[in-house]
Symmetry: C2
């Protein structure tokens, strides 16, 4: 994920640092490269939108290169955010920034969170790192790894993501949260790890899917059930997944898809991977994106909730009982 704040002070030049700004103008004007990084929209897209929709309308510097003022960048960011949720640019590019923000917060519904989650969000917002660590640890101990994951980590991660997307969290706040959870989960996983008990599950995600926490949550659930995990981290291309599953003699390949991942791409990717994977290797797909998929995919198990994982492992074992 990316940026949060709007009045991004510097990074006027492509590489991300303030150009010395010879003629001492605002430090908030972004070059097209900087805008690309700040918005997540490629240069080609930025130029294309300008041509097609007449937005953005960047200023030009003395050599006729685009310069994006902060308000346009903010609007671009808001648009990108909504697009990740499924909106299409043409429909929303004409709206005002306020309208865009309203559109973004409405459907999520503010008060979905329980008080525990709210309390932790507050710790993050107030930068109380020791308290945050302690609280998370306490919850882990009290709830046990599995309940901790689906009662605390999962909703909390969603809440943090939402808050970030609404501009309520700074980039660094979201990153710090991610680091803490990662540390906690990796520790728990290491302690819970058993040895060489089937099924052997290869865990990863497709390229452009960078959501590490999702994978870690799954790994934790699996480890508790005594499965053996081969974690590859995120963003492995399909052919590499096939090679890796052969090299590690995986029984199952499990993929994670965050909410931002395009559904269609998930479907295509899964079908394709299924076709290239040996028949005897199971293929499981989970994550917010999969939860939205309507149709089932032949030969692919769609995991719609974390709780389901235990059952899946048990089923696998039942089917491969005597080996």
């Amino acid at each position: 994920m990316d940026k949060t704040e709007v009045a991004v002070p510097d990074r006027a030049n492509p590489k991300g640092f303030v150009a010395p700004a010879p003629n001492a103008n605002d430090a908030t004007l972004l070059s097209i490269s900087a805008a690309e990084r700040d918005t997540g929209l490629s240069k080609d897209v930025l130029r294309m939108w300008e041509r097609r929709y007449r937005f953005p309308k960047p200023l030009r510097d003395k050599h006729d290169e685009r310069i994006y003022p902060p308000d346009q960048v903010a609007k671009l960011r808001a648009i990108k955010r909504l697009m990740d949720r499924g909106f299409r640019p043409g429909k929303i590019i004409g709206l005002s920034l306020d309208d865009l923000n309203a559109l973004g917060s409405a459907p999520t519904g503010g008060p979905t969170h329980d008080s525990k989650v709210e309390a932790i969000l507050l710790l993050i917002r107030n930068h109380q790192l020791p308290e945050l660590r302690q609280r998370l640890n306490q919850l882990l101990m009290r709830q046990g790894l599995q309940r901790f994951i689906f009662e605390t980590v999962a909703p909390l991660t969603t809440a943090v993501g939402d808050a970030w997307v609404r501009g309520e969290f700074a980039v660094f706040e979201e990153h710090l949260y991610t680091e803490q959870i990662q540390s906690l989960l990796r520790n728990a996983i290491a302690s819970a790890q058993t040895h060489n008990k089937p099924p052997r599950v290869l865990l990863t995600s497709f390229p452009t899917e960078q959501h590490k926490l999702g994978l870690l949550m799954v790994e934790a659930m699996l480890v508790v059930d005594g499965a053996t995990c081969i974690p590859l981290g995120t963003e492995i291309p399909a052919p590499e997944i096939v090679r890796a599953s052969a090299a590690h003699r995986a029984d199952v390949v499990a993929l994670s898809f965050s909410a931002a991942y395009p559904e269609r791409q998930a479907g295509t990717g899964l079908r394709h991977l299924r076709a290239h994977l040996p028949r005897e290797v199971d293929l499981w797909a989970g994550g917010a994106c999969v939860r939205r998929l309507r149709k089932s995919i032949d030969g692919v198990v769609l995991v719609r909730s974390l709780e389901q994982i235990g059952t899946l492992v048990a089923d696998w074992r039942a089917a491969h009982g005597e080996e």
Copy 2:
């Protein structure tokens, strides 16, 4: 975005899925987007080199779009790797892949690796995950966290990076290695953590710098010395770093720069960050890129080796003794 029906399998399309490859040719032909990702050279650069140096010379698909065969991609990767070490494209673009590799290994010295490192590389290459885990753990126990890091993890990570860049390691092999080390280090860090002892060190990297392991190594070294770490993970924009250091009342901001990071950019970025950070906050910069910098930067401590960190912490404490 994707082209599916072009016979461009393997990451041929931007999103990373194999086109079904009806006419079963190589699984390794890359589109320009894929080549960009695989080589780290921007599309513009790929096209410009083609125009200027007549290399690369990609094939064309039926719609006249560039298709890069694996050997050209390998050569591009080799060139990029040498450029990261300071070579200039014009000088080396004419050389053969073998020459490039020779050029690359010579200065580093092929046989710099000791036998321990070689043995571990072999475990990775042979996909012996349990043995790898066990061996790393054993070394950690035997050497202690600090020696483990600069005698094992650091050289091993370099070796894995080199091997990957030379095409000797697959993507998934490198990722699996990274995951294992990450798990190990995060565990060690969690165990060694003490509470609220100064200095408070904020750890992160600039945007485009994604090397997690470097940061984890530093964090481990710091934790052993009893410092308090605020790990933000990678890729935080400069203004966010400033805000975060204020929010967490950091005494020191420490940044990591991998070998691939452009020296000039590191310099500019550091100077700029220094200017925006309060005087009383120290700024430390480390990593392979920093090691190459000649000139010192005013108000920035250039950390040229991991071993140095202990001294730095001690120095800081001496200077802030009574607080």
